[in-house]
């Protein structure tokens, strides 16, 4: 019981930490710092996954933790660093919405997810409940980053943080099968995206190599 409460506190702290870092991402205005923050995000995620693995004594979760650590906290950020260099993307992020409103929106989303999750009858064990609340907010914040940032790299970062939220939720769900497979699948997905960015020389946004060509290739204004 004692153990349980500590376990609860720690995982709670870690999850809360993730939300906090997601919020931090929202007000980064330089690419490199954003990447670093994301690395931190991944690190905390791996910690919490590891902790979950420990308290659920589900060894396979360690795999997920390792993936999170190696792949997301190290490989991807480095790769993105290099992409930023190679494509000569200028360093500061121009965001569609100002930092302030974004932060407010972020707060609102966190509140929303809390409201939604706290309706859940607490016979689902509190751990899962809190975890879910945080996971949901991480997911929403990740989407928010994707939506508010114009820059491809930062959008990737947003997507990855979203996906971190998923992993958090998945690992929080005690005894959920396929977690590892899913995390692997997602890492591959992200790899695809990163490669795609690199391949298609996408600088500014996800849309197209050059903006002017955009409309032509909607096939409608030819």
């Amino acid at each position: 019981m004692q153990m349980h409460s500590i376990a609860f506190d720690i995982s709670h702290t870690l999850a809360g930490g993730l939300v906090l870092i997601s919020l931090m991402m929202l007000y980064q205005d330089r690419l490199y710092s954003l990447l670093n923050v994301f690395a931190l995000h991944a690190l905390v995620l791996s910690l919490s996954v590891a902790w979950q693995a420990f308290i659920q004594d589900a060894p396979h979760l360690y795999v997920t933790a390792v993936i999170a650590l190696v792949f997301k906290a190290i490989v991807i950020p480095v790769a993105l660093h290099r992409i930023v260099k190679q494509l000569g993307i200028h360093r500061d992020i121009e965001s569609a919405v100002g930092i302030g409103p974004t932060m407010l929106a972020g707060m609102g989303l966190v509140a929303l997810s809390l409201v939604l999750m706290l309706r859940v009858t607490s016979d689902a064990d509190p751990l899962a409940r809190e975890d879910l609340a945080f996971a949901l907010s991480v997911v929403l914040l990740g989407l928010l980053v994707m939506v508010t940032r114009r820059n491809a790299v930062s959008q990737v970062v947003g997507f990855m943080s979203l996906e971190n939220g998923l992993v958090l939720a998945a690992t929080g769900a005690k005894g959920m099968p396929l977690v590892v497979e899913i995390s692997v699948a997602f890492s591959i997905l992200i790899a695809f995206i990163v490669i795609g960015i690199f391949l298609f020389r996408i600088r500014e946004r996800f849309d197209s190599v050059d903006v002017s060509a955009l409309d032509d290739f909607r096939g409608e204004r030819r």
Partner: protein, 671 residues
């Protein structure tokens, strides 16, 4: 073999012919084979329908096929009402096929006509036979589709594509409204069988909604103003014998649908409903014929006049509803019979006139009346039968058009019996409107015949035209004969219609067969009576008497000379009255109100040799007021929405995000 089964066999035969036509394709024999076969089948079906109407068709025969809605099956039923409309359809079909035997040879794309012609006939037959909502709508829309294909037969001619498009959209609009109506009648349980609908009790709310929906649905097919816009586009676009079918017959199928639902399925009508129908009917009658008066395209003019006649029929049906709602069975039967009679007559003379227009088209290649003229010399037979048609449609004795209009007026004269003040005051006005429509129709067809067939040819094609083939003539002459017969022996028709009235209304007109001298007596002889036969006889007697005496007493001397024309004898044919100039007085009287018509005259200064020019601008207020705005609204909103096609992925993502957040918020607030 029950009557309905017989009809279904005929329908199957027609569908088989459609398939056969596809197989035969462009081969030479296909035209005679298909039209000959359709003629045979239609005559056969006609005989069957006549038998079931005259031979005590009070007992309806039903047939259920395991197709259509699975748990319901396709129900088919033949009762008196159905038999009557089957007669209309198959008579028109037979005439059109006969005409097609000759006309079809001038068709440059037979493979686009032949498969759909029998299919179209089959569709119309099926609509009348269908006895459940699903099969009804299926056949209804199938009919529209087949006729659409026929309209698109000459798809390369300018304007036809648009005509087909407008037609198809309006048809589908009508079907959807009918669909709503039937959905309402069937109720949530989905009792789509007509028997079930008949049995069910319908609240006034339902009845009102159904009336509106039927007026929209059946009205759009029949061409009620303001739903008529497709009709003058589509009917002329089709080959002429098909135009005849569409105008003469398909509109009747729409009327059938209206009667079936409003009188049969819905049970006792309510008098406010009749007010609406009366109003729409009379407006349609007058508007339709005014449109026709302004028209110079022969076939389109005929299409507009179809609208007028539909209006007359609907007005008469409205009267029937009014009387029925007040339990005045006899009067209701009178109005109802008059409506059916007029529908029948219209199918006669409108088909005849469209055939005539087709003959003119084949002979001259012209539809614009202002390039025609003097055809009475070149096409004597055609011009004679068309004259008969014109007299008949102008509601002049002793032809059939007059009889039905006379009956309608007799029904109008019964209106004092009605208790409701609204009706008391409205019906005379409606009567005046109908009289106006009839008089305008006479004017319109004086114009049509005078400009097309009389006078001097306005173009080379008209000057060198020749008479058409004998199949076409046979079809036209038989229809003309029918026009005369129905005009001089109306009693037979009325008695034949009695079972329909008694089936639908539970009352009937007094039997006419007993009347002396074959005259007809709608209510009682003291009230009013008419005897087409004697009028005919008197006129012929008087005329021949006159001729006799003149030729006995007066001089026979006759000299051909140039037309006097108060001295302008050598005026060019262009100086004749054209259709536009003929319409001018009526345009001056009604046009300014109805069409915002303006005449712009540009008179060159004295000494200037340029000809003076007259430009006439007409506005179709219905189109400009209703359809153009709708079209532009759709265009505008689609242009606006179309921007969503050109967003960046980030924007798309924000759409997703927004949706997600909204749903979550909804969840947070509600649950």
């Amino acid at each position: 073999m029950s009557a309905v089964a017989l009809q279904m066999v005929c329908v199957a035969g027609l569908l088989g012919l459609a398939a056969l036509a596809i197989v035969l394709g462009r081969s030479k024999i296909s035209t005679p084979v298909i039209y000959g076969a359709t003629l045979a089948v239609s005559v056969f079906a006609l005989a069957g329908a006549l038998r079931s109407l005259l031979g005590g068709a009070a007992d309806a025969t039903t047939l259920t096929l395991p197709v259509g809605l699975p748990w319901l099956g396709a129900h088919f039923r033949l009762d008196a009402l159905g038999s009557f409309f089957l007669i209309v359809i198959n008579l028109g079909g037979a005439a059109a096929s006969l005409y097609g035997l000759g006309y079809g040879h001038h068709e440059h794309a037979p493979h686009r006509v032949l498969p759909f012609f029998p299919a179209f006939l089959a569709g119309m037959n099926l609509v009348v036979l269908a006895d459940d909502a699903f099969s009804y709508l299926l056949c209804w829309e199938f009919m529209s589709l087949a006729s659409w294909a026929l309209v698109m037969a000459h798809h390369r001619e300018p304007g036809n594509a648009r005509a087909g498009y407008v037609y198809l959209v309006m048809a589908s609009f009508g079907t959807l409204t009918l669909l709503l109506a039937f959905g309402l009648l069937a109720g949530p349980a989905g009792g789509y069988g007509f028997a079930a609908i008949r049995a069910a009790q319908h609240t006034p709310y339902v009845a009102t909604l159904v009336l509106i929906l039927m007026l929209l649905g059946a009205g759009s097919k029949a061409g009620l103003v303001p739903l008529h816009v497709w009709l003058p586009l589509a009917h002329p676009a089709a080959p002429s014998h098909v135009s005849a079918l569409m105008s003469g017959v398909m509109t009747k199928v729409a009327i059938y649908g209206f009667i079936r639902v409003m009188f049969d399925l819905l049970g006792q009508p309510s008098w406010p409903a009749s007010v609406v129908v009366l109003f729409l009917g009379s407006i349609t009658a007058v508007m339709g014929i005014l449109y026709a008066m302004m028209e110079k395209d022969l076939k389109r003019l005929l299409a507009y006049s179809t609208i007028e006649n539909i209006g007359i029929v609907f007005a008469s049906l409205g009267l029937a509803m009014a009387f029925q709602a007040n339990g005045l069975k006899a009067a209701a039967a009178l109005a109802f019979t008059a409506a059916l009679f007029h529908a029948l007559n219209h199918s006669f003379f409108k088909s005849l006139l469209f055939f005539g227009a087709g003959a003119v088209l084949t002979a001259t290649g012209e539809r614009d009346m202002d390039r025609l003229g003097g055809l009475i010399h070149r096409m004597p037979f055609t011009s004679f039968v068309v004259l008969v048609g014109c007299v008949a449609i102008s509601a002049l004795p002793p032809f059939n058009g007059f009889v039905s209009e006379w009956l309608i007026f007799q029904a109008v004269l019964q209106s004092p019996e009605l208790p409701q003040w609204a009706l008391k005051i409205m019906v005379p006005a409606v009567g005046a409107m109908l009289a106006l429509a009839a008089a305008l129709a006479a004017a319109c067809f004086v114009k049509t015949y005078g400009v097309t067939f009389l006078g001097r040819p306005r173009g080379t094609t008209a000057a060198t035209a020749g008479e058409v083939d004998r199949f076409s003539l046979a079809a036209m002459f038989s229809l003309a004969a029918l026009c005369l017969l129905a005009g001089i022996l109306p009693g037979l028709v009325i008695d034949a219609l009695a079972p329909v009235a008694s089936q639908i209304l539970g009352g009937r007109m007094p039997a006419q067969s007993g009347q002396a001298w074959l005259s007809i007596v709608p209510i009682a002889e003291s009230r009013s009576s008419y005897n087409g036969l004697l009028v005919m006889v008197f006129i012929t007697l008087a005329a021949s008497l006159a001729v006799y005496f003149i030729h006995r007493l007066a001089s026979h001397a006759l000299r051909r000379g140039p037309a006097w024309g108060c001295g302008f004898s050598d005026a060019t044919p262009a100086a004749q009255y054209s259709s536009v100039s003929f319409a001018q007085p009526i345009r001056r009287v009604f046009g300014t109100l109805v069409f915002h018509a303006r005449d712009h005259v540009t008179m060159p200064p004295p000494g200037d040799l340029r000809p003076a020019r007259l430009r006439i601008e007409l506005h179709d207020l219905v189109w400009n007021g209703i359809y153009a705005p709708i079209a532009s609204a759709v265009g505008f909103s689609s242009t606006r929405l179309n921007r969503l096609q050109f967003l960046t992925i980030r924007r798309y993502l924000s759409l997703v995000f927004a949706t997600l957040v909204t749903l979550l918020l909804v969840l947070a607030i509600w649950s």
